[in-house]
């Protein structure tokens, strides 16, 4: 092993260059592919296929009101004008992130803003609203999360726009930001109002 190693003859130089080119091409190809993947992963519709509910009637439901469980609200009670429904829970940290954004939006009184309290303890939910403020005109409570299945709700927060005919027009999974409000929800709302 101590003898000086033989130098590769000229002939196999070509093979080495060839191997280097292959390695390089493979690497560049892989990087482009992954970069494409990263770009795509930012698209909201990539992970979850677009909600099958979009363009379809909102599911029928009949749920108690959080503040007064004796009163029940069904989809028929909400028909006639568009409404935005925001799914939240006191157990959901992300909901606290979007709360100021949603409060600002609710104060504009642009549209009826309904809260959908998902899988929560009533007392905890009420305390949460007391602590952070209640932007909703009405909160319906889905304690066992059964009605949420019909809506295709994965968790909280999620936000839906339903038009006056009861058709789901828009949906967002995750915290709503100012950009999403301005670029997605408001235009969708304008469109829904125009169509009616």
């Amino acid at each position: 092993m101590n003898t000086p190693p033989p130098v590769v003859p000229e002939k196999s130089r070509g093979a080495l260059v060839f191997a280097a080119v292959i390695i390089g091409l493979f690497f560049v190809g892989l990087m482009f592919l992954l970069a494409y993947g990263v770009k795509q992963s930012g698209r909201a519709d990539r992970e979850s296929l677009p909600s099958p509910l979009i363009g379809k009637p909102a599911p029928a439901f009949d749920l108690p009101v959080l503040h007064d469980p004796k009163v029940r609200i069904s989809n028929k009670d909400l028909a006639g004008a568009p409404y935005v429904m925001n799914v939240w829970g006191s157990w959901c940290p992300e909901c606290r992130v979007e709360h100021p954004v949603l409060t600002k939006f609710a104060l504009t009184k642009r549209v009826r803003f309904i809260g959908y309290n998902l899988k929560d303890e009533r007392s905890e939910a009420l305390r949460w609203l007391e602590q952070f403020g209640n932007p909703y005109v009405l909160v319906i409570a889905d304690e066992d999360g059964r009605a949420a299945i019909d809506w295709g709700i994965y968790g909280a927060p999620e936000t839906f726009l339903v038009d006056g005919l009861g058709i789901v027009r828009w949906k967002h999974v995750g915290a709503v930001t100012d950009e999403i409000l301005a670029n997605e929800l408001i235009p969708a709302l304008e469109k829904a109002e125009g169509k009616r």
Partner: protein
């Protein structure tokens, strides 16, 4: 204000990593001793700082400080104490911190045990490890800060993903990371060698045990993950070719190739360039795996939440590290050849081993990225799934298994092909006999059963034949040989397990009312109903299934469906009676009303052998690493 302290120690760790990365490397280049000497203290300092950071985050979980966003998202007042510790690495930020910490521990180990290596080598190796650490610590601080506050603090946290609330998953990630990240050592040595422009067989000998230990940990980590999927997901499967599983399996395959090629390079001086390339590839694949899991590029049940800014950062890092290493390799790879060898020699066999393992890895990579390729080429959303992987894997691994017994019995450089053939012929015959017997005894799936029995017997007998020759000729067995023997026996055990459970698995799914009995392959399963029990943070529908064989009662199993209080997620816990020659496996499906439940029953012969085989491979790797020969350290190199 402890979390802020953790923040500060993390920032300090970043600065120390920068020192560890830059000064020793420059120092080694310019021959400045004082700069090189900084490598070790920097490595120790970084480890201490990261340990402190980790302790602070753990403390936040133990005392449930929900003002830390990461804690609020991954913990809950009901979470049992044991899982508060493991919740630290339950999600992206914390597990990345664990990643960096494990890297620091490996770095410290290298700093401690490299006393006899030449100073410039140590400086370069620790410098390269510092560069990797620098990148990841920056990633952690800039995109995934675990100490971000959430003020005012919520009253209740969101809870740790219930899938992770399991004893097996407490140690699975640390083991996996020990393996994954451990490949940084051979990688750093390869880069140091390329920078130095001189591959020395003696350093290579020094890195071999490191590769073995890392690979052993990775083996255990993967096996734990597979075992967990088996009893927790309730499907009775043990491997799903999921992108995240593949992400850990690719470095494993290349790592196995690296173990073997390192042995050739160390002993014969051959394949030096190839060994360096494999060392780069093994760690690059670890990085790629980390990227795939955390960027949201690939969708998988295990993947962490997607965040494009993270994806961009880690992709850039990946590009720099892998691209830089490959460029360095192309420019500086040793253009030397070791001792020549003929077509019939151990070198050739190990070359075949490497080609097959590398191809298998390429095939897994292609399959994993295929959905992305299809998406990029606008061919729609598709997934290749188990049929593709299963078939190709069999095609590539079958010849490898056939070749295993030949390797140790064939001499280096030149061997008359007839010699090992003659030695192994009777054992091949015996293995064939076992296969034929299995074919006729199998109640179902005779071909796969026969293949499993033959393959397992062939590898086991051939390996024992080597052991016997060895002991008879000089009665001495080095740890290196013992380790190799155990690992190869592990392959035999694994082959039997994987193929027999595939061939002999029986399963039925049936609606059962309390009192009803399901009979299957000689077992009777009496369903005795479901009652509700309260766990620490879940409510469980706990089934009672009495298993009888003939008139004898075997066991009372309790499959469960747990609904976690925090998010209402439902988890299944299979009821299993483990056995060396087969498991009885019962899982609860859905309630069907009137006390009736869908009940899924499996009989899984030899399923334990899969993990037993993996364990043997890992033990073999550890024993090999313990060989004293690797520690008889090289005298200082003369330039």
């Amino acid at each position: 204000m402890l979390p802020e302290l953790g923040q500060i120690t993390l920032i300090l760790a970043l600065l120390v990593a920068a020192v560890q990365a830059i000064l020793p490397l420059v120092g080694a280049h310019r021959g400045k001793r004082e700069w090189m000497a900084l490598a070790r203290p920097a490595a120790y300092g970084q480890t201490v700082l990261l340990l402190l950071t980790f302790a602070v985050l753990t403390h936040a979980f133990v005392v449930q400080d929900f003002s830390v966003k990461y804690v609020a998202s991954n913990s809950n007042t009901l979470l049992p104490m044991m899982y508060r510790y493991s919740a630290v690495w339950g999600s992206h930020e914390g597990s990345l911190l664990l990643w960096v910490l494990v890297l620091a521990l490996w770095t410290t180990a290298v700093a401690l045990f490299s006393g006899k290596l030449p100073e410039p080598v140590v400086a370069r190796v620790l410098g390269v490890m510092g560069l990797v650490s620098l990148g990841f610590t920056a990633f952690l601080l800039l995109t995934s800060n675990p100490f971000e506050r959430l003020l005012p603090a919520p009253l209740e946290g969101r809870d740790l993903n219930p899938l992770l609330q399991d004893p097996g998953l407490i140690i699975h990630p640390p083991m996996l990371y020990m393996g994954y990240v451990g490949f940084v050592v051979p990688f750093a040595f390869a880069i140091a060698a390329l920078l130095d422009g001189h591959v020395d067989a003696r350093w290579l000998r020094w890195t071999r045990p490191w590769t073995n230990v890392a690979w052993g940990f990775l083996t255990i980590g993967i096996a734990l993950g597979s075992w967990w999927a088996y009893y927790e997901l309730g499907w009775g499967g043990w491997w799903f070719w999921d992108p995240v599983e593949n992400a850990s399996f690719m470095p494993w395959l290349v790592g196995a190739a690296l173990l073997h090629s390192q042995a050739v390079t160390e002993k014969r001086g051959s394949f030096a360039g190839w060994t360096l390339l494999l060392a780069i590839a093994a760690f690059s694949l670890s990085l790629l795996g980390t990227f795939l899991v955390r960027s949201g590029v690939i969708t998988s049940v295990h993947a962490f939440a997607a965040d494009p800014s993270r994806g961009v950062f880690i992709l850039a890092f990946l590009g720099i590290v892998i691209g830089g290493s490959l460029l360095l390799y192309v420019l500086r790879a040793p253009r030397t050849e070791g001792s020549p060898f003929t077509a019939s020699s151990r070198e050739t066999l190990l070359l075949a081993n490497n080609v097959l393992l590398a191809s298998a890895c390429g095939m897994v990579l292609l399959g994993t990225l295929y959905p992305l390729i299809a998406d990029a080429l606008d061919m729609g959303k598709i997934s290749v799934g188990p049929p593709y992987f299963g078939l190709l894997f069999l095609v590539l691994m079958a010849p490898l298994v056939m070749l295993v017994p030949f390797g140790p019995l064939t001499r280096w450089q030149r061997e008359q092909a007839s010699k090992p053939l003659a030695m192994l012929a009777p054992w091949a015959g015996l293995a064939l006999l076992v296969g034929v017997a299995a074919y006729f005894m199998a109640p179902q799936g005779p071909w796969k059963t026969a293949a499993g029995a033959f393959g397992g017997a062939w590898v086991a007998l051939g390996t024992l034949r080597f052991l016997w020759t060895r002991i008879r000729s000089n009665g001495r067995l080095t740890p290196e040989m013992l380790g190799m023997t155990l690992a190869h026996l592990g392959i035999a055990v694994f082959v039997v397990g994987a193929l027999l459970v595939e061939a002999q698995n029986v399963q039925r799914e049936l609606a059962l009312k309390p009192g009803q009995t399901l009979e299957m392959s000689g077992y009777a399963f009496r369903f005795e109903g479901v009652d509700e029990t309260q766990g620490p943070n879940y409510v469980s529908d706990r089934g009672h299934v009495r298993v009888l064989r003939g008139d004898r009662e075997l066991v009372l199993l309790h499959p469960e469906k747990r609904a976690y209080a925090s998010g209402g997620q439902v988890m299944s816990e299979a009821g299993i009676r483990p056995g060396l020659f087969g498991d009885v496996y019962v899982a609860l499906g859905e309630p069907l009303g009137n006390g009736a439940w869908a009940v899924r029953v499996h009989i899984k012969p030899f399923v334990r052998w899969i993990w037993l085989g993996a364990l043997l491979m890992a033990i073999g790797a550890f024993i090999t690493a313990a060989d004293k020969r690797f520690r008889r350290t090289p005298e200082t190199r003369t330039a």
